[in-house]
Symmetry: C2
Subunit: 427 residues, 2 copies
């Protein structure tokens, strides 16, 4: 007899079914044993013979297979329950290190992560990653429709994209290599290789020593790069449409997950744009906030988001025209001091960095020199610019950050299945 998923039980009323899953709760009465059974699609109450627990040595979180009839039961949440005729244990759970079967999981984050297989089963955690998967799928679906090609570029590289800091080193046979910080160079090269529009969903690595709630040392980057743009506004406009699509995609597929997390998806409006220098002035004027150098710090990002939300209703804001000294050498200059670049803030956190890139060989060399970099160190990248390179730009979205902001998580680690940080290499 084939298995029926719990979500499909309502179409099998008064029928005999086989259900498989985890025993989430056990309540023994003198005349009956009630179980809450959980599978990937939901939870259902099952009523079995009394004394079951001792007969089968049944423990919570064990995996069972039960056969029974789907019986109307007005007192149960779903309006029915499974009247069990036979039950077998497929895999017994031993003593559980933490209790995961309350409505909330009051456990410190480190313990949540140490016991990931168990905590991922919790109704407030599991949905985070279904939403994350839908975000990744929405990203891909939209871009394929827009003529982008999915690419897979190397993560073991000979040198860094930004000039050598924050890199993890790899022993690559007899050579020293590095883990890629960003597919930036490869995305650009592939635009020039004739694909014009490419995206990548893949890991990137930052040997950032400081543990903050916003950083991971390994994270998933949703990257795209597009050729034949006019300027950075084409990239922002694409992201605006992309995010709208992704949020609709999640909204349609993750209704239950959003409800479990008790969160509401934001509307994606025409996203306001504020040049960085104006943003800094605004923060000083409105909040008396000063900055070290010409950049937003985390508090500045939060205040600016708040101001934009209060004045426009948008939970998103593009900060544009970053100063030349704050952006990497491949960023297209705008005048002498600024660049055609942007960040996107969402609910107070930067989730995207993007912009137009330099496509002229000569300008790229000039910009490298002005940054104090040695063009010869970037030859395999630089060569591509002498072979016909369209004007282009792109962006990267941090998948865990985006997920965390949607789900209202305090720490980005909560949005990574198995996060890697300064002190964590397992599980």
């Amino acid at each position: 007899m084939t298995r029926t998923l719990i979500a499909d039980l309502n179409s099998h009323l008064n029928e005999e079914v086989v259900v498989k899953g985890w025993v989430e709760r056990i309540r023994e009465l003198s005349s009956v044993t009630f179980l809450i059974l959980r599978d990937r699609t939901g939870r259902v109450q099952a009523a079995a013979e009394p004394g079951l627990v001792s007969r089968l040595k049944l423990s919570t979180e064990s995996v069972v297979e039960l056969r029974g009839r789907v019986k109307p039961e007005p007192r149960s949440k779903m309006g029915f329950e499974v009247a069990v005729s036979t039950i077998g244990v497929l895999s017994a759970a031993g003593p559980l290190p933490i209790n995961i079967n309350g409505p909330t999981l009051n456990v410190p984050l480190e313990l949540v992560l140490d016991n990931r297989v168990l905590t991922l089963r919790h109704a407030t955690i599991n949905p985070i990653f279904r939403i994350q998967a839908a975000l990744a799928q929405g990203f891909q679906s939209f871009l394929i429709r827009e003529g982008f090609t999915q690419v897979f570029t190397p993560k073991i590289v000979a040198s860094g994209t930004e000039g050598g800091t924050e890199l993890f080193s790899v022993q690559y046979f007899d050579e020293k290599a590095y883990l890629c910080q960003s597919p930036q160079f490869y995305k650009q090269m592939l635009v020039g290789a004739g694909f014009e529009r490419v995206f990548e969903v893949g890991h990137v690595y930052r040997a950032e020593k400081h543990a903050t709630s916003r950083h991971l040392n390994e994270y998933v980057s949703l990257d795209l790069e597009m050729g034949f743009i006019e300027n950075e506004h084409d990239v922002m406009d694409l992201e605006n449409r992309l995010l709208r699509f992704m949020f609709e995609y999640v909204g349609e597929r993750c209704e239950g997950e959003l409800k479990s997390l008790d969160v509401v998806l934001p509307v994606v409006p025409v996203i306001p744009k504020v040049p960085l220098l104006e943003a800094l002035e605004l923060l000083e004027r409105e909040f008396g906030k000063t900055h070290e150098g010409r950049d937003l710090d985390p508090e500045g990002e939060r205040l600016l988001s708040k101001y934009v939300y209060d004045t426009t209703g948008s939970e998103f804001v593009f900060v544009t025209d970053y100063p030349w000294e704050k952006r990497p050498m491949y960023t297209m200059p705008k005048g002498r001091d600024a660049t055609r670049s942007f960040d996107l803030l969402f609910r107070g956190l930067e989730i995207t960095t993007g912009g137009q890139r330099i496509h002229s060989y000569d300008l790229l060399v000039e910009n490298m020199l002005r940054k104090g970099l040695e063009p010869g160190q970037f030859s395999s990248y630089l060569n591509a610019f002498a072979l016909g390179m369209p004007p282009h730009g792109g962006l990267a979205i941090g998948l865990e950050r985006l997920t965390a902001q949607i789900a209202g998580l305090i720490n980005v680690r909560e949005a990574s299945l198995f996060p890697r940080d300064r002190h964590r290499l397992t599980p």
Copy 2:
């Protein structure tokens, strides 16, 4: 005026258009300059004023923007050409290290890879990666429909999945870590974490010292794992349906690409299954081929594929029941000597390894010990088996190998945008 893609020109006959792309060929006559312009969607002939090359210093592979009228022209391949009124160079190409504008690219593989940005533009190379992207998308689309969740698991790990060989080491702050050989442990843990069915599209790393035409040191693994199976045949049956879907998906979306490469997609039948020992007997009987130990070597794989094709018409064959000593410790035993495992051969090459996994804690410990492994070294994995683990199995498909077999490529490096091998870290 917005850009018109070359593939859309036929719906703009006698209209003024702007076309952008690379100048693939230039032919100067006394009265006219003919250009072949290429964008991501195709190629078109353009007719411009004479003397254009010297006036603009126009070189092949430069990126241009041209404005003109789409004019019926029976002598051109497409039945029309663009009569150019103005043309501007967006990015000039310098001298080209190799000529890429012939119908075939007679260049040694190392040179093809050294000049990847250029060679990827060639009509016999570019389509390989559009097909690859469609394969990856088809894989995801099918599995999402089947209730799988996409996951992203760490590639920096504390130890190897197979016990420590062929690992690249990473300096992870003050600790020594490794690049993941396979998401095997994480896939299984996530089945147990309640997702039941998961897939991952991501890089894996093998520090394989021997350069062969079948191996890459970094490759893309299409991984899946599914819970609540009866045995390994459930996994093979899923792969059978999965491959049928993926090939149909590619067939519908890559007609032009398949034609450019002059290849035909195979039909995916009900794939025959041959137990390994029978396969070895068969090879000895039919071809007089003997083997060292109980395993197929590359020649054995080719001969077996040929035999199955000749006798059944199938270009695929599952080889099942691998001996216990040939499979990793997590493989479900079948009797004392065999395992519930399989390989899938496609056109003479192994493209998948899979099977049922052990889901019992005690059996897993026993199997580790029998393999001479120390269970304590795998504790963060092993612990998951004491928390309620459904019976499960899964598989991995090598994306580059699958692509290479479809495209009829001799070396798997040809199916990687920027391959990493023993001697190659750039571009």
